[in-house]
C-alpha cells in the first residue's frame, strides 16, 4: 500500500505551495488596511484634557460634546465633578457643547466649566433656568 517516496514528497511540496496563496493574500490585505492614515490620525493628535464642572446647585445632569460627539456625561450628586478625556486641541481652539439640567426646584443657576490642557486652565461660566444647552469656546 505504500506509495513511492517521490510521489509523497511531490504531494507535500504541492500542498505547501497551495498554502502560500492564502498567506500571500493575508499579507497583502494587511498592507492595504493599514494604508488610510486618516482613521488613525485623530487619536494620534489627541491630547489629555482635564474637565471640571462646578454647578451652583446639586444634583444636576450634564453632557459635554465635542464635534457633535458626547465626550463626558453623567448625573452628579455633588456640586463639583471632574474627568480626564483625550481629545484634539488645535491652536484654533475647541468648541464644547454643554448641556446641563437641574431638578424642578432649582431657580436661576450657573455652571462653570474649567478646561485644563497642557498645564493651562481656562474657566467659563453659563447661566440658565432649569437647563442650559450652549457652546463655549476654549481657550
Amino acid at each position: 500500500m505504500r506509495g513511492s517516496p517521490l510521489i509523497g514528497t511531490a504531494i507535500i511540496l504541492a500542498l505547501l505551495g497551495l498554502m502560500l496563496i492564502p498567506l500571500r493574500r493575508l499579507t497583502t490585505a494587511q498592507a492595504v488596511s493599514s494604508a488610510p492614515a486618516t482613521i488613525v490620525e485623530p487619536s494620534a493628535k489627541a491630547t489629555p484634557v482635564h474637565l471640571e464642572l462646578e454647578s451652583s446647585h446639586a444634583p444636576f445632569s450634564y453632557e459635554i460634546s465635542h464635534l457633535g460627539k458626547v465626550i463626558w456625561k453623567g448625573d452628579a450628586m455633588d456640586k463639583d465633578v471632574q474627568s480626564d478625556v483625550a481629545m484634539e486641541f488645535p491652536q484654533e481652539g475647541v468648541d464644547l457643547r454643554i448641556a446641563v439640567s437641574w431638578p424642578d426646584d432649582a431657580s436661576r443657576e450657573a455652571v462653570k466649566l474649567a478646561v485644563t490642557e497642557n498645564d493651562s486652565i481656562v474657566e467659563k461660566t453659563l447661566w440658565g433656568e432649569k437647563k442650559i444647552d450652549d457652546v463655549l469656546t476654549f481657550p
Binding site: 464635534l67 484634539e88 484654533e92 481652539g93 468648541d95 450652549d134
Partner: protein, 298 residues
C-alpha cells in the same frame, strides 16, 4: 339737542377708529428689512417689499411703480452701508415725504479691500461690507432700530411694537443658540468658507470662519485671472473640502474653480437676502446656510 350730541360722539368715535385702523405705509428695499418691518409692525403696518426674494439687490433698479410706492410711504427701509446705490436718486425722483431709514448705517461695519474700479463707499481702498444680516446680533440691532422708528411715527402703538419686537428678538436668540451648536460640529481649523462673492464676513467673524470670496463685495464684480488662480491655490493649500454657490448667481466661475481645485460643490447659499421655500424667512435662510456649510465642510 341730545340726539345731535350723540351723533357727534358716534362720528368722532368712528373717525378715531378709522384713523387708528390706518396702517403705517412702509416701502422696503430688501427682503431682510421687509421681514423686520412685518415682524415688529405686525397688523399696524402695510409693508411693500420692492425687492422681492431671489432678486439681486446689487443690480436692482427701481421701476416707475416702485417710485409711486416710495412716494406714498411714511417710511422707506433700506439695508444701507452702500448696498442701495440708487437711494438718493430714488428719493429725489419719487419726492418721498416719508423718512428714509438705512438700518445698517446705525451700527458698525466690517470693511474689505475694494475691487478694481469699485468706488461706492470706498475709503482708502476699503469698502464697507453691506451684508450685515449674516450676523444675528446685527439682526437684533436692526429689529430694535425699526421698533424705535415705528414708535416715533406712531407713539400710541409703543406697547404693541415693543411686544412684537420682544417676541422677534426671542426667536433670534433661539436661532443664535442653534447656530452656535451646529457650527460647533465643525473643527475650528476647517472653518474656511469659499463662496461666489464676498458676502459672509459678518458670519465669519461671529463663528470663526475665514472667508474667501471669489468675486468682490458685489455680485457684479468680475474676478481677475490672478484672483481665480489665488483662490485655487488657497483651496489646495488650506485643504478646503468644498466651495459654495449662491442662489442668485451664475455659478460658471465657481464651477471652473471646483474643477481646477478638486474641491467639492458644497451647495447653494443665500447671500443677498431671503429666498423661496425654507429660505423665505430669516430663520429658515440662516438655518439653510449654516446646515449647508457645516455638513459640507465636516
Amino acid at each position: 339737542m341730545k340726539a345731535s350730541l350723540l351723533c357727534s360722539a358716534i362720528l368722532i368715535l368712528s373717525l378715531g377708529h378709522v384713523l387708528a385702523a390706518e396702517k403705517i405705509k412702509i416701502a422696503s428695499l430688501s427682503t431682510i428689512t421687509t421681514e423686520i418691518a412685518n415682524e415688529v409692525g405686525g397688523g399696524r403696518v402695510d409693508v411693500t417689499g420692492l425687492v422681492k426674494p431671489g432678486v439681486d439687490p446689487h443690480s436692482y433698479e427701481p421701476t416707475p411703480d416702485d417710485l409711486k410706492q416710495v412716494e406714498k410711504s411714511q417710511l422707506v427701509l433700506a439695508t444701507g452701508k452702500h448696498m442701495e446705490g440708487y437711494l438718493t436718486k430714488l428719493k429725489e425722483s419719487a419726492g418721498a415725504k416719508g423718512d428714509l431709514l438705512q438700518v445698517g448705517d446705525k451700527f458698525p461695519s466690517l470693511h474689505m479691500k475694494a475691487e478694481e474700479g469699485e468706488t461706492a463707499g470706498s475709503t482708502n481702498g476699503l469698502v464697507e461690507d453691506p451684508h450685515w444680516w449674516h450676523s444675528v446680533d446685527n439682526m437684533e440691532r436692526a429689529a430694535k432700530i425699526v421698533r424705535d422708528e415705528l414708535i416715533k411715527i406712531s407713539p400710541g402703538d409703543k406697547d404693541y411694537f415693543t411686544a412684537n419686537a420682544d417676541a422677534y428678538l426671542a426667536k433670534l436668540e433661539e436661532l443664535k443658540r442653534w447656530i452656535k451648536i451646529k457650527v460647533a460640529e465643525l473643527p475650528r481649523d476647517k472653518r474656511k468658507l469659499v463662496t461666489s462673492h464676498d458676502a459672509f464676513q459678518y458670519f465669519g467673524r461671529d463663528y470663526g470662519f475665514t472667508i474667501y470670496g471669489i468675486e468682490g463685495v458685489s455680485t457684479e464684480d468680475e474676478p481677475s485671472n490672478k484672483k481665480v488662480s489665488d483662490i485655487i491655490d488657497t483651496i489646495k493649500t488650506q485643504h478646503v473640502k468644498a466651495i459654495f454657490f449662491e442662489s442668485i448667481e451664475n455659478p460658471k466661475v465657481s464651477k471652473a474653480i471646483t474643477h481646477e481645485s478638486g474641491a467639492a460643490i458644497g451647495g447653494t447659499l443665500y447671500a443677498d437676502g431671503l429666498g423661496e421655500g425654507d429660505a423665505a424667512t430669516y430663520d429658515g435662510m440662516m438655518r439653510h446656510n449654516v446646515k449647508t456649510i457645516v455638513d459640507a465642510l465636516k
